[in-house]
């Protein structure tokens, strides 16, 4: 199986992305740490650290699932034999990542119930109560169901190959992203619907961008023919994604800072954990823009001529920063502004 040997060395990149994401979570938690209030019991440490870590693992499972579902669309359908050699090895991984997505959603549900109940143990009744009363509970159940649908589609693809429409898999994976963002911060003013749509677009763009880059670099970097095909297409997708995630991210961050009663944008931007995380994410997207531009204008012409380039190194740096940004994002959606 020659595709295994060419793909294997790059799998370390997935580890880099996940580690960076967990480090991002830990940095975020340190910045937003609050001291315990007298007279109020703190949730268990397993719960306090477990929720953001599980949520970022959920995001990473989402990135891998979406990335693998976009890969057939990026490679295109005009070189079926070459493409099949690469895609065949990815299908079982897609089953595993979709299952991970579903299971992390359930674990997040258990931990968030424990956070609310301030308890170290959770009954099924308490979980049911959480799903009934709290929006985040319903969203996690929806994510679990849609992720299981993605897993079923992935199993079907392992059996039937590319005769299962790639568009269907991509749409199912992208749709599974939608329930969770609406349960994070969103303000309650007249522009509420716009902040909600903007948050959804932000998540779709960030996951498609990271997943697409990861899939292309991990699986195609050693295959110059397919890379010359897929990277220009990914480059177009990435340009749209960076624009969308920058605009929607700035809009949502500043909307949250502006609309929290008793807040002042500049003081909170530099003086609160929430504001610092917004600044960190702005730094991340500026760096990602520069790295992306480097790949687009300095490396891409060579790649299109089937030359060897330093793509893997630059992409590793890009994925590391993307991982950090995901980690910050998880803490940001849970941090109070004031």
């Amino acid at each position: 199986m020659p595709y295994r040997t060419t793909a294997a060395p790059r799998l370390a990149l997935v580890g880099v992305l996940v580690m960076a994401a967990i480090i991002g979570v830990l940095i975020g938690l340190t910045i937003t740490a609050t001291s315990a209030l007298p007279g109020i019991v703190e949730p268990d440490a397993v719960v306090r650290y477990g929720i953001p870590v599980v949520r970022v693992l959920l995001d990473m499972a989402a990135v891998v699932t979406v990335g693998l579902s976009l890969l057939p669309l990026l490679i295109g359908f005009d070189r079926p034999k070459l493409a099949e050699a690469v895609l065949a090895g990815t299908r079982r991984v897609a089953v595993i990542s979709a299952l991970t997505w579903a299971v992390t959603a359930l674990v997040a549900l258990v931990l968030q119930t424990a956070e609310l109940r301030l308890s170290q143990s959770v009954t099924l009744d308490a979980i049911w109560d959480y799903v009934r009363t709290v929006g985040a509970g319903k969203a996690l159940v929806a994510v679990f169901l849609f992720a299981m649908l993605c897993a079923v589609l992935a199993v079907w693809t392992v059996r039937k190959g590319e005769s299962v429409p790639a568009e269907l898999r991509a749409a199912a994976a992208l749709f599974t992203l939608l329930p969770l963002p609406v349960t994070g911060h969103a303000t309650d003013w007249s522009w509420h619907d716009i902040t909600m749509v903007s948050m959804e677009l932000h998540v779709l763009a960030a996951v498609a961008w990271t997943g697409g880059l990861g899939a292309v670099v991990v699986l195609l970097a050693a295959n110059r023919t397919l890379l010359a095909h897929a990277l220009p297409r990914f480059s177009k997708l990435a340009t749209v994604c960076i624009a969308v995630s920058a605009v929607t991210g700035l809009f949502n961050g500043f909307a949250e800072l502006l609309l929290t009663p008793g807040s002042s944008v500049w003081r909170d931007l530099f003086g609160t954990g929430y504001g610092l995380l917004v600044l960190f994410k702005i730094v991340c997207i500026v760096l990602l823009g520069l790295l992306g531009a480097n790949i687009r204008w300095r490396l891409l012409p060579g790649i299109m001529r089937h030359q060897r380039t330093a793509l893997a190194g630059w992409a590793t740096a890009e994925l590391t920063i993307m991982g950090l940004a995901f980690g910050f994002a998880v803490v940001l959606t849970r941090a109070p502004v004031a």
């Binding site: 209030l37 007298p38 007279g39 109020i40 019991v41 397993v46 719960v47 669309l73 065949a88 299908r91 079982r92 089953v95 595993i96 299952l99 992390t104 359930l106 674990v107 258990v110 931990l111 424990a114 609310l116 109940r117 308890s119 170290q120 143990s121 959770v122 009954t123 308490a126 109560d129 009363t133 709290v134 929006g135 985040a136 199993v155 059996r159 790639a166 568009e167 269907l168 749409a171 992208l174 749709f175 939608l178 329930p179 609406v182 349960t183 994070g184 911060h185 969103a186 303000t187 309650d188 959804e200 779709l204 297409r233 177009k236 997708l237 929290t260 009663p261 008793g262 109070p336 502004v337």
Partner: protein, 185 residues
């Protein structure tokens, strides 16, 4: 690019079908007594006003009133009336700075918490809430162990996590072992 567009349209159509509920993080906008106020007689109730309705789930919303020695002075678990959360307070005792700590379930499902203080300038003759009364609130107020007030029969969180890892492991084994297209040939 055409197939991308198809995927995007499919996801977009599904998105339209998804009703988005109004959700947000609550912020405290007003309180009685006000933060850092000085009063001669203790308030009969502590009243906290938020910018959005607080979710009324039993045993979650908490208001505690503590004197400098750490005694509790709230008389009952808080009541929720839309954006206002209020708890009755016992007649206060020694003069000094009292801390009000609160934790409520935000409209977006995240618990949020905060703290206020007020100064009692003239000592009253009240007595603090006995510990066995406090235990009946079942809302995490007080210094009791987190597990102490809950009913038995729950499954510890680490067991849930281990269970999830086992299920995922079984799924991975299944994914790697099942017959695939390449083996069919």
């Amino acid at each position: 690019m055409r197939r991308f567009a198809a995927a995007a349209v499919l996801a977009g159509l599904a998105f339209v079908g998804l009703a988005t509920p109004a959700l947000a993080h609550n912020s405290l906008v007003d309180s009685n007594p006000k933060d850092k106020a000085s009063v001669e007689t203790g308030p009969q109730t502590v009243k906290l006003t938020f910018d959005q309705p607080v979710q009324n789930v039993e045993g979650i919303n908490t208001i505690s009133v503590l004197d400098p020695q750490g005694n509790h002075w709230e008389a009952a678990p808080p009541q929720v009336d839309s954006t206002v959360v209020s708890a009755p307070v016992r007649p206060l005792g020694p003069s000094g700075v009292y801390q009000i700590s609160w934790r409520v379930l935000s409209a977006d499902g995240h618990p949020v918490q905060g703290q206020l203080s007020f100064t009692l300038s003239k000592a009253g003759n009240g007595t603090p809430l006995p510990a066995d009364e406090l235990a009946k609130f079942k809302n995490g107020a007080g210094t009791a162990q987190p597990g102490a007030t809950e009913d038995s029969g729950g499954i510890p969180t680490w067991v849930w996590i281990v269970g999830a890892v086992v299920v995922l492991g079984a799924g991975i084994v299944f994914a790697l072992r099942m017959g695939g297209k390449e083996e069919d040939a």
